[in-house]
Symmetry: C2
Subunit: 464 residues, 2 copies
């Protein structure tokens, strides 16, 4: 069985199926109606690089090295001058799938380091069309080059220069290029009857947001909505292509996001996290709870809904399971195989760890979530107009200083209070029972944790 | 064609189909999948009594008298000692439908006055099972009686005394009684082959929230969720009953709410307004934008979605249209006939007026909403812990003093910014174009407005 993973950068609230009031995602809504909706699904970090490293290794960023120790609870990613990247010691999903005869392709943003040793084709992918990084820019090429675009080993151009993005109009045809790549790859694999792993990780909804001409101005939601519509249309075309080639029943497809919508870019370029608190960069639900849909016609009953606590890291274990392969036994794997959940409706008891950089900020077990640390961003940043929680303010929760609660964690019941507005009373029996349980999980987690060598500590202009 | 209106007190975000993360409303979600979802549907007031008067008269509360002039922009309803009620001069939907041979029944909360002249059977209803008011209490019967429950003309008991509500456990079987009433009425009408209008306006999600024993503890969302599940189950049973009796294709059914979720009762007894700002009592989207579903198998195409700006007042005009009747021509009717929208996919250009008491606070036209006044609640109330916008705070918008913006209205684009967080720049061309248009609508509205005699100005203990 082949696997396809759509990894986007949309918020929970950006899909019609998840309550976006403009309801402009008919293809994703249809995917959900035909498949299974995961309502309690998480990314592994509120920022993109660490989430992607976690998805591909099945391991928390703090284990696979995608974090920094430069500051406490500091989010970090892979800017152009980053020295680190995905260590050779990490085993990536495509490396493992290769042993099962899979052809692996990444389309879009790699984000696991851009020095030669970190190239995706050195880590199990057979093909790549995309960039090592986001399409930030344009840059003055003398001081800082524009982000390159690769086809496999070869750099084929740079954003803004060879791959046009018009920041004024928001026009760029990149999503169409990435869509065509996916369709062609799937056709080729179907013709050769080889299983494949396709990782479609495009970046259209990341600021600066862009969309193709035919989608510009088509959304009620502005440019961001145009980009969402184009992604929705692309997902629909890819699924239809699988069906038309007659391989949809042999292809497991999963749609999710690498972090919550970036509210700092709102309203022009920012999405929606629905009823949840804050957004990207935070360990509140808005930062890490993601829209998630599993689709596999003939296997997943249509209209399914699961409350399994899931994680992007589970896509590692699940894809291996689909390939009949075992996860590596020489290291801690944080992902779980979701097939019993998807095919037999099981619920697997497991916690969700919310890390921010090197710090375990919060833990969810069942419907309870305990915050050991709270932080939105610094007063200094906030004073400059950078706001991770625009229009939202919960006293003692969305704090602008790093607040430690390790002795008396803030506890929320996410069923009654998905927006994390009403901490439970410390004196309640409910509080004591839940915190005792979660603290046990934390102890266990910390006792066995072997942090990886932090990869995101050092920048050096020389590596650009 | 018969009409059924479910009028509940749930928020936009309480339905799975509208993005509630626990997704516990399979019957309502199914109703939406089989019918048409209205995503831009409004009540006529952020409080219950005026909304209900508007639904049944097709007229804004400021016209039909369901407001107070005791204070500026003051919400008012019909407490037990209210002197006023629905004036005889108002023509109610059931009065008009009677001329079309309809039998009309109200099940649940009337809320249009409780003195004898306001009795629903004096205003067109043929049958009533329910109460004139919410199930507040219990009261010490010497000073203030408990709310009575009527079967038609006869008082058959009182809440807490004869109709038990256990505030400790939250147990009450009222929704089951109201469900059975509906099923029996529909059976009777089917047997007699007479068209009917059923107004199912139960109050289970109004604080103090209750649910029947079999639903207690079944929701992830606590007691409020239990009540929602029971309502969802009841709606499913009623729709199934129509189908089993073979009259679903002759029965137009509409589900909506009379105000946004009451966030002051959260988290234990309060619902969700999804991504919208604030809740009940306010003229922000959370106070007046409602979940809405039209269902009419064989007529409404399954899975429809409409962005028509709709109002509970439209149910007046639409139900008349279904009965082949004309709305009265001697008065201003604010409702419009939604059948062209529902059956032919038309979009009718019309504004939405957001009143709070006697004041026009805001107006929506297309995707633009202009606030002429902003107010959440007073600092005094807020200091007592009464918060209409818990966890939300938008500078200059969720104000605790009444702020006038009539010269420079605050303008929001509800497509890009459904949460009303980012007022448009006064200097922008977009602002000037939109405000000019809306101000024209306001002028026109105010120039022709004939306010009704305010019914909610006077309370007198003697009327209890």
């Amino acid at each position: 069985t082949s696997s396809g993973v759509f990894l986007l950068q949309m918020g929970w609230g950006d899909l019609g199926a998840f309550g976006e009031p403009s309801k402009e995602t008919p293809n994703l809504d249809q995917m959900a109606a035909e498949g299974m909706l995961f309502l309690d699904f998480y990314t592994a970090s509120p920022l993109c690089s660490p989430s992607r490293a976690a998805l591909l290794t099945g391991r928390l960023p703090v284990r696979n090295g995608f974090y920094t120790t430069n500051g406490h609870a500091r989010n970090a990613y892979t800017p152009q001058d980053i020295v680190g990247g995905i260590p050779d010691s990490e085993l990536l999903l495509p490396e493992l799938l290769k042993k099962g005869g899979y052809t692996n392709k990444i389309i879009g943003k790699w984000h696991l380091g851009h020095r030669p040793q970190f190239h995706p084709l050195k880590h199990g992918f057979d093909e790549w069309f995309g960039s090592p990084n986001c399409h930030f820019g344009p840059y003055n090429s003398t001081e800082r080059p524009n982000i390159p675009v690769y086809r496999d080993w070869e750099m084929v151009g740079r954003y803004y220069e060879d791959f046009k993005i018009d920041l004024k109009t928001g026009e760029a045809n990149l999503t169409q290029l990435y869509l065509q790549e996916a369709l062609d790859f799937i056709s080729k694999q179907q013709a050769s009857q080889q299983p494949f792993f396709l990782y479609w990780a495009i970046d259209a909804t990341h600021a600066p947001v862009y969309a193709s001409k035919q989608f510009l101005g088509t959304s009620q939601r502005g440019l961001y909505g145009d980009a969402v519509r184009e992604i929705d249309d692309s997902v629909g075309r890819i699924l239809k292509h699988l069906q038309q080639l007659g391989i949809s029943e042999n292809t497991f497809v999963f749609f999710t996001s690498d972090n919550g919508a970036a509210l700092i870019s709102a309203p022009k370029q920012g999405g929606s996290n629905g009823p949840f608190l804050c957004g990207k960069q935070t360990t509140f639900e808005g930062g890490m709870r993601e829209p998630a849909i599993a689709w596999w016609p003939g296997h997943i009953p249509a209209g399914g809904v699961s409350h399994q606590l899931g994680s992007v890291m589970d896509l590692f274990s699940t894809s291996l399971s689909l390939a009949g392969l075992q996860p590596p036994s020489d290291r801690q794997i944080d992902g779980i195989d979701l097939l019993p959940v998807i095919l037999q409706g099981k619920l697997i008891d497991r916690p969700i760890f919310y890390y921010r950089g090197n710090e375990l900020m919060a833990v969810r077990a069942g419907l309870y979530k305990a915050h050991y640390w709270t932080w939105s961003n610094s007063w200094e940043e906030h004073g400059k107009g950078i706001d991770f929680c625009p229009g939202q303010s919960v006293a003692g929760v969305t704090t602008h200083t790093q607040e430690e609660h390790t002795h008396l964690p803030l506890l929320f019941h996410l069923g009654r209070d998905p927006g994390e507005k009403y901490p439970l009373s410390f004196a309640s029996e409910e509080y004591q029972r839940a915190v005792e349980h979660i603290s046990g999980l934390v102890q266990q987690h910390k006792a066995t944790l072997v942090p990886g060598q932090p990869q995101l500590n050092v920048c050096d202009q020389a590596v650009m």
